[in-house]
Symmetry: C2
Subunit: 810 residues, 2 copies
């Protein structure tokens, strides 16, 4: 995963991030008071609404100005040829890219023939608010047209969490200059909008994004219209429908009757349009409610998809906007009740943390049978692909908070097993090899050293499976999917590695999480994750002997896996007394960090892989990630020494890094550093720290915000399925409270700098541990003090790369 | 360099090559008796004529049937964009591909309106002969047209070694059925012929090859015509002219005068044509002599290039065909006198060896200021690029036989130094980094792990420089070019490597010669070649202190280079007592050679790099090549143990491998194996062992044929500039005699199984060694016996991959 983030700085001792704060600080809302259209690209992503199934970017209703329009449907993509100047056996031939489907967000307004466009006329007031409790985006505009007419526009929209194929917008216009105003409203379904092209210059991908939809069908009647299209190469078909309710008491003819002439609808090819022409009397308002319904499939016919969109619209209209809104609120109330994280000491971090949880929910809530992309459904970044981000960052949150969503995400992986088996076969391996990046389960990574070679994704998936099964006790899932996922990945490891002459099990020529290294031997993270994968596969097969038998797993195979796991190579430098990121990593030349100017970050944009790979420079937590995810394989002293070794080499050119570094810093006891990394993680998107939020949100960093709280400050670990805590707080946070649900028991943990309070909110009593001390949490509140720890001075970061510090005042 | 060779076999104990013998065996000619047009693709390359400047494939004069027409001018290429689905910093943006320029070979014949085409009518006789002493391609055809008319066509053509911009064809027709015959002859210059497209599917490169020439100018007068074109992207301009002499006594009008109506010429855009329409009386023949002249440049104008082609034609016509032919013969007589290799015991190997020497001469003789491509000027393979093949395989032959050509090739490299310095800068390195593949000096390799990372090319060039300077004593070249080439490559090594905590100098993350490994640490070949590079740079700078000073080389820098060289890491496995190809190579899993079916070779066409790189499988000699090129760094025991270790892992999927393996086999004493590899090397193209000779000859393998004789059986080494021999013969060769010239002294070495005879043919007495015994060779013949050696059983090759064995009878 190639993050193309840019940061600048002049002084290598100073922090290098921009002052990125543009939103009001509030515990439950994110508000932008928009007088600077240059910030619009950021708001389009931050204000995106999604439910994991359908996603709508936060563009203005009037369509323009716009940076990247975007209506995304999970699993809806176009294919394009992947070009290679020098090809190779096993290179993927076909790429996939998410496409902007028919846009139903558009409601244009003409005020006496002057189109509402904030670049013209005068904006008196413009406020947009994402409400994390109602799950809606509200807008309030007072605009004076170039001809001097003043109108107020208000809108509220949402993508329904409860009815996953439905979105709705309520849109109101009223004159505010004491006079009647003549308006025309055009509510559109618009296919093949121009989109901003990726800048990487691949003409095939650009071509796939250029007018990707071929018109199949268009119909309009009354206030309802539907357009059906399909993509050229992937041949996926989509139906998008709109229906409306109009409250405009004075849209009447001279006789006082409803005037059909002034409300018309039409549809053809790439455009369906409801046009309302009317005069709004002074003191009154026109209110248009627009419902959107979606249906898409690679198999279903035009009539079937049209029917699906129509049915969604019928359901929406029958339910009604207010009722849908109430359901949305109810859904979110339940979510916050079970999953909220409260921070008393820092209002901005409180807001950012809730924003993060909300965005992970938007990415994963209703992704049923489909992947959770790295950007969710908020932008076209990374082509809409899913990576290891899903299993390693997003699923831990979902597993402990929205387990049904976690299960569905893992069932999606399971549904791609045949492709993964085929890929393993194609690459001369055994078992299943999952794609590094994909929408439909086929590998789309065209640069194999940082794609196919990153085989750790198999173990990342296996860890998510084991974690989910442990946390939920979902035996049915385990029998139906879990055993097979664990066994097929275990088979991959057993076949991929080999025992050397000393009997140690080696896994050579692979790429770990750090993308400034590649194709190295015995990557510690990969080997330890593979070890756990093998062990978990053995356990799962032993728990499900019939399933294992049906998969052809014999006792001999289990013993093979056990032997591979028990003899796994974990490279260690005895002189330095640190673990090697990969074998011989510590013998490589250091990167000249002091000679690297601030404007040369991210390094991959300014230096060749050839040089990055052969030096000790780390893009993102790799060995340090192993210290967290396989912390049971390291002593406390080793963790501290390793962190001190790798922290000064880690440039954090990936948004996946800071939360991992912060979690380990908290465990070792460097609370200031942990706090700083938490700030950087939580504000990744709200402060646009990587200057690319317009491509979509960094969903893994949002999930990493939760991990920072729970695994970082809370010290929560679940090695072997036992839930343990080792809370360690930073005083600036005041009180930090989080909740999680384990096998039906909902726990609340509330921490200050000195003590942690454990409560069982629902479910059966549960065995926990606090700093190594076991206890059973039942109806009684348990309060434990936090032991003191003075680890000494924290390690330094590379020049120009200290953690983000917010502009003051907060 | 990616060789896409294919071999098949059923039984892994049997040799897997086809019976590829299609040419008559003769010591000085290569003759094809062509009744099988399916063999035509092979003859087009084998019968290609070239002088290093201009190359013409061995197509039929009548133009069709044809597989790949081809007229190539050294350094004449078209550019095309290099596509990347995922780009990276420092990736080359532009590729280069050799293009087929205006074809002057074409002389069409219509026999009573029936075009001569061997696919129609009846071929009574068809003989084509490449004559290695006259340097011409002769043809004799008796053809009966579909309407029953029998004619004899003879032709002889050459590309002049002495006048490098000139080629000529003498073409004769006569009736052989006792009747007058009415004929039309069309002699063409034909631009933008259709060519066979590369099969790799890159549309950009295919587009660059499709009608690459844009017409600038056309003129025709008398029997002379010229066409001027340029390429679209690279904007290189070419003028091709033709002129003719006609001997056709009966092409007269009714009054007995020459009839201008029946001999006409025209020229426009992509075609110039001389048309002769006449009746040839029974018993007489028409003889047309066609001269071709070429001029090309990226800078010169249309009139200047036209003048250049016209001047070449004037020179050709003034000199005349017979005189040009005599000069050609004289040039080759001198060549054979100084460079011939004689083999008495095996007529086919005698022929193949002379063919090989001739082809290396054709590739390099007159390449002045331009590169020597891997395929010479015989075909479009590898896009016409030059690789390390030039310096490592071709230049040793040229250095000891045609030193002026070696000097010119190295001066070409020197002329690209600014580009190489720029490339080093771009990649964050120092000094100069030469391209892995190029026509004009810019890197064209789009897959960096097997391109840019193969940094050994710098040391390969440095070795060729030092070898040339040692062998010729050319101080002027050293001062003008040699010091700078050595110093800039030494700077690269000093900056690229680093000293580890034990003070050892490491070069990490590079690719050695074996392309089934990549981006590994401390490749032994690379490190030892870099060591010699650094040492040679120090010596050369000390010999040329003023030049060194002008290059900014200080004493400190020389000491740095010395320290890097003296502390160079050479990885060795103490348990196995063998050297590592690269660090930890021997710890990798073995490739399952016994499970690899014959039809899965070459492996790169059937297995991913991902799996090849992480296993112990060797495409081509790498550590074994180090045993030869840096044999001074190994003991005899080490050479033997290393050969035994690596030989069973080496699948020889590259045509560069067999000669290197054979040289080391001969040194260790495995003479049957050395003989077998010599056979395979020498017959690479004549027997089409890689089934791709139609793309062009394997010039490095041809040069490897000479290396097999001289460095293999002759045991010639030139470490540190001292010429030593350690002859060791295979009895099947009878007597093997070769010549070479060192600092003006031409030596002849003649060997039998039991003794070697040394003679000084010209020049001053010279110090030599025979199996470690020093002696001075002056006017007296020196005869030395060859010591016996019984090294025991030779190592085995991988299943399906024994050396080629010829079909019997020889």
């Amino acid at each position: 995963m190639t993050d193309t983030e840019t940061r600048t700085s002049a002084d290598e001792n100073e922090q290098t991030f921009p002052d990125g704060r543009i939103f009001d600080i509030d515990p439950w809302t994110v508000t932008w008071r928009g007088d600077d259209l240059d910030e619009m690209d950021r708001t389009e992503s931050v204000f995106a609404l999604a439910n994991g199934h359908v996603g709508l970017r936060g563009t203005f209703e009037e369509g323009e100005p716009v940076v990247q329009p975007g209506s995304y449907l999970n699993g809806f993509y176009e294919e394009h040829e992947l070009p290679y100047a020098e090809g190779g056996y096993g290179y993927p031939e076909s790429g996939q890219t998410v496409v902007n489907v028919t846009d139903g967000k558009v409601i244009r307004l003409l005020v006496e023939d002057e189109p509402l466009d904030l670049r013209y006329g005068k904006v008196i007031d413009h406020v947009r608010t994402l409400d994390l409790r109602s799950g809606t985006l509200r807008r309030h505009v007072i605009w004076v047209s170039p001809t001097g007419r003043a109108v107020r526009i208000t809108s509220e929209r949402f993508v329904s969490f409860t009815e996953r194929s439905i979105a709705a917008i309520r849109y109101a216009v009223e004159p505010v200059d004491g006079r009647n105003v003549k308006v025309v409203i055009q509510s559109d379904l618009l296919a093949n909008e121009p989109v901003a092209k990726p800048e990487d210059g691949d003409p095939r991908r650009a071509a796939a994004l250029d007018a990707p939809l071929v018109a199949d069908f268009a119909a309009a009647e009354g206030m309802r219209a539907v357009l059906v299209h399909h993509t050229r190469q992937s041949e996926i078909r989509v139906a998008v429908g709109m229906d409306h309710e109009l409250v405009a008491p004075h849209v009447t003819d001279r006789n006082g009757d409803h005037d059909p002439e002034r409300c018309s609808i039409e549809a053809q090819d790439d455009l369906a349009r409801l046009t309302i022409s009317t005069t709004i009397p002074e003191g009154q308002k026109l209110e248009l409610t627009k419902y959107l319904g979606y249906g898409w499939s690679a198999r279903r016919s035009v009539p079937a998809l049209r029917a699906q969109a129509d049915a969604a619209l019928a359901l929406a209209k029958d339910t009604g906007f207010d009722e849908l809104l109430a359901s949305q609120r109810h859904f979110l109330d339940s979510f916050w009740e079970a999953c909220d994280v409260e921070i008393t000491g820092d209002a901005e971090l409180q807001q950012a943390t809730r924003f993060a949880l909300f965005q992970v929910l938007q990415a994963g809530a209703r992704g049923e049978t489909r992947a959770i992309p790295a950007k969710g459904l908020t932008g076209p970044g990374y082509d809409g692909h899913a990576f290891w981000d899903t299993e390693s960052f997003v699923l831990p949150f979902l597993t402990y908070n929205v387990p049904l969503a976690a299960e569905q995400a893992l069932r999606w992986r399971h549904s791609t097993l045949d492709k993964a088996r085929q890929r393993a076969h194609e690459l001369g391996q055994a078992g299943a090899m999952f794609p590094w990046r994909s929408i439909n389960g086929d590998e789309c990574s065209s640069y194999w050293p940082a794609g196919t070679a990153a085989v750790h994704i198999g173990a990342d998936i296996a860890r998510a499976v084991a974690q989910y099964v442990n946390a939920t006790g979902d035996d049915e899932f385990e029998a139906e999917c879990g055993v097979e996922l664990l066994a097929e990945t275990a088979r991959m490891w057993a076949a991929m590695g080999h025992h050397d002459s000393d009997g140690r099990f080696r896994i050579d020529g692979v790429t770990g999480p750090d993308e400034y290294s590649a194709v190295a031997d015995n990557n510690t993270f990969t080997n330890l994750m593979a070890q756990r994968n093998l062990e978990d596969a053995v356990s799962s097969c032993r728990r499900n002997p019939e399933v294992a038998s049906a998969l052809g797993v014999s006792d001999d195979e289990l013993q093979t896996w056990e032997k591979c796991a028990s003899s796994m190579t974990v490279p260690f430098n005895e002189v330095l007394q640190v673990h090697e990121q990969s074998e011989a990593f510590t013998k490589l030349a250091p990167w000249n960090l002091h000679g690297t100017p601030a404007e040369h970050y991210p390094l991959l944009m300014h230096y060749p892989y050839y040089d990055l790979y052969r030096k000790q420079v780390v893009k993102q937590a790799d060995l340090v990630l192993a210290l967290y995810m396989r912390g049971d394989a390291f002593t406390a002293d080793e963790k501290k020494r390793n962190l001190h070794y790798y922290e000064p080499l880690t440039v954090r050119d990936s948004s996946l890094s800071a939360c991992c570094q912060g979690i380990v810093a908290a465990e070792v006891g460097y609370m200031d550093l942990a706090f700083d990394y938490f700030v950087e993680t939580a504000l990744t998107d709200l402060h646009d720290l990587h200057r690319n939020v317009s491509n979509g949100l960094h969903v893994a960093a949002m999930a990493g915000t939760w991990l920072s709280c729970v695994a970082g400050f809370g010290g929560m670990r679940d090695y072997d399925g036992n839930i343990t805590f080792a809370p360690r707080m930073h005083p600036a946070l005041g009180t930090l409270t989080f909740r999680l649900t384990v096998r039906g028991s909902t726990i609340r943990v509330s921490m200050t700098e000195f003590e942690a309070t454990y409560d069982l909110l629902a479910g059966k009593p549960i065995d926990l541990a606090h700093h190594g001390e076991q206890f059973t949490l039942d109806g009684d509140t348990v309060i434990k003090s936090i032991p003191e720890l003075d680890p000494g001075p924290a390690p330094a970061q590379p020049p120009h790369r200290p953690p983000y510090r917010r502009p003051s005042p907060r």
